[in-house]
């Protein structure tokens, strides 16, 4: 009974945080792309556009949900459901932190640990192809069909280098579960270089990141849903909540893939330098952010910033104070430090996703497929062979 209640609480927390993150990830993306392109982005709805996701949700809910004629009803309705359900399922095995003890409850910051956690994530992303393929086919529209087929062919082609890139850290750590993978990456070489899998497996990391851009249909591999080529591809005929479902599925896939990259290559929740010194990093980061916001709030560029910038400064200084106070409460310190480092790494990788979207043009479809089969796949194979050779020669 205790186990069920704790699990329910964890599920509620993770679901709430994940869904809010998905909404605000869109806000971050629009702001970052806008500032890269020297414009402002969403600005009017709420201070600096912070309520824009809320406005988008209201718009999407209240829009008319059209069902075009001659579509296959069951599959038309099933496809976004499958896409979203599978995209949200793989968060269940992602650990956000180490084991914590709050009072009588002793639990991990993870919904469930499977002994085959990594295989579970690969399996769920394999089935996620059906959401796209069915959505494209059921729409009774040649552009959607082409977009759906291209997108699913792209996803299964890039699954192969992704799986091979994932196997190399598995060879090093000798386990398939995420918890033990992160525990393998604890400790430091020479006292200050973290034992992350990034350093021996730099090629694996690069291959994994490129393959994950293609798996989530992001630029530069987003030809299947390109607006100027394929009239929005497989989600052309979807409107209102079904379109929101595909959108949410794409962002959830992005979050999953960056979480997996963090856990496999970047050491999960482990800080980059040893413990007593790295505890001050969150305090310093948030305090610096608060002071910068305060400084800019004193002579603001825009009239609204006289209120928003000091408010932001207060928020950041408050968070720095929370981190500082938590140094004296061990339970809170563990939770907050683990969350800070994990979310920091995930947010950095998400920023790289958004940065690449703002920068690169998109691949043509045959270039994309040729790159997968003749470029990434041999590179991933060579990486795996090299890792296997080193492991075979160095284990007793």
């Amino acid at each position: 009974m205790n186990f069920f209640i704790v699990s329910l609480i964890k599920v509620a927390v993770v679901a709430f945080v994940l869904l809010t993150t998905l909404a605000y990830l869109q806000w971050i993306e629009r702001k970052v792309i806008a500032h890269v392109q020297l414009r402002v982005g969403p600005y009017r709805v709420g201070p600096h556009g912070l309520l824009q996701p809320l406005a988008d949700v209201v718009k999407l809910i209240t829009k008319e949900g059209l069902m075009p004629s001659h579509v296959n009803r069951l599959f038309y309705l099933l496809a976004p459901f499958v896409a979203v359900a599978l995209a949200l399922t793989s968060i269940a095995v992602i650990p956000f932190g180490p084991e914590i003890k709050i009072g009588p409850v002793d639990t991990w910051m993870q919904l469930t640990d499977l002994r085959i956690g990594i295989l579970f994530v690969l399996a769920v992303s394999s089935i996620g192809v059906y959401g796209v393929a069915l959505g494209g086919w059921a729409s009774n529209n040649k552009y959607s069909l082409l977009g759906g087929l291209r997108s699913s062919a792209q996803m299964i082609s890039y699954e192969l280098p992704m799986a091979l890139a994932v196997v190399a850290p598995l060879l090093l750590a000798n386990t398939l579960s995420f918890r033990e993978m992160v525990n393998y990456q604890s400790g430091y070489w020479l006292g200050f270089i973290p034992r992350w899998n990034l350093f021996p497996e730099i090629f694996g990391f690069i291959v994994f990141m490129i393959a994950s851009f293609a798996e989530t249909n992001r630029v530069p591999f987003d030809l299947p849903e390109a607006e100027n080529e394929l009239v929005a591809g497989f989600h052309t005929e979807y409107s209102s909540m079904s379109f929101a479902a595909f959108f949410m599925a794409e962002y959830a896939n992005m979050v999953t893939v960056t979480c997996v990259a963090t856990l496999l290559f970047l050491g999960g929740w482990q800080p980059p330098f040893p413990a007593p010194y790295s505890d001050f990093v969150p305090i310093l980061v948030f305090a610096a952010a608060g002071l910068v916001a305060l400084y800019h709030g004193l002579n603001p560029a825009r009239r609204m910033d006289r209120f928003t910038l000091p408010a932001t400064a207060l928020l950041f200084l408050g968070i720095a104070a929370i981190f500082g106070l938590s140094l004296f409460v061990p339970v809170a310190k563990e939770i907050l430090m683990a969350l800070f480092w994990f979310c920091g790494k995930v947010l950095f990788l998400l920023f790289v996703f958004i940065w690449v979207r703002a920068t690169l043009p998109r691949f043509r479809y045959d270039q994309l497929m040729r790159f997968a089969w003749t470029g990434l796949f041999p590179l991933a194979m060579l990486n795996l062979l090299g890792t296997g050779l080193v492991v075979a020669l160095t284990t007793k």
Binding site: N72, F75, L114, R115, I116, L119, F120, L122, A123, S126, I127, V129, Y130, A133, L134, W137, L145, G148, L149, S152, A153, I156, L176
Partner: protein, 165 residues
């Protein structure tokens, strides 16, 4: 709990199997087959085959069935129009006879098998470690032969699917 999960997923598997045979449109059959594979993966988990369950979902439901779905979409296979007309009576009689036949099989299996233990979740764990160990020692020769088989299949599929045929 074990029995409940078995009954639910076995019922889903049988229902999807019947759906596969009965549906006219190939895409509906393909999705029913994916349903069968998914419920079988849960049953494998119950029998302790966690690696096989994951392999079933990744390889069978996630790659082979995607290939089927692709081919059905590319060939634009429509609903099958039945040309031989059987009367409804024959169809119902056939269904009843099939059910009777399956019941007979169940009875034979149940009565001839010795009293084996029941299946409890967790009594046996086919971990990836055990499978890997056996695969690369006892079954090394079939493993290498299978990789040659896959190479033959790849070459064959590419040759057959080229344009100039």
């Amino acid at each position: 709990m074990t029995a409940l999960i078995f009954i639910i997923f076995a019922a889903i598997a049988v229902f999807c199997g019947i759906n596969l045979v009965v549906q006219t449109h190939p895409i509906a059959s393909a999705l029913s087959l994916i349903g069968v594979m998914g419920s079988l993966a849960v049953l494998y988990l119950q029998l302790g085959g966690e690696f096989i369950a994951a392999a079933q979902v990744i390889v069978y439901a996630g790659a082979i069935m995607v290939l089927f779905v692709f081919v059905i979409m590319l060939l634009n296979a429509g609903a099958e129009a039945s040309t031989f007309q059987v009367s409804r009576f024959v169809k119902y009689l056939g269904a009843i006879l099939l059910a009777a036949f399956l019941g007979l099989i169940s009875l034979i299996i149940q009565s001839t098998l010795p009293r084996t233990e029941g299946v409890t979740f967790g009594a046996f764990q086919g971990t990836a470690v055990d499978i890997g160990r056996k695969l690369f020692t006892t079954y090394l020769w079939p493993f290498e032969v299978t990789s040659v088989l896959i190479l033959i299949a790849i070459v064959g599929a590419i040759v057959l699917a080229r344009k100039e045929i």
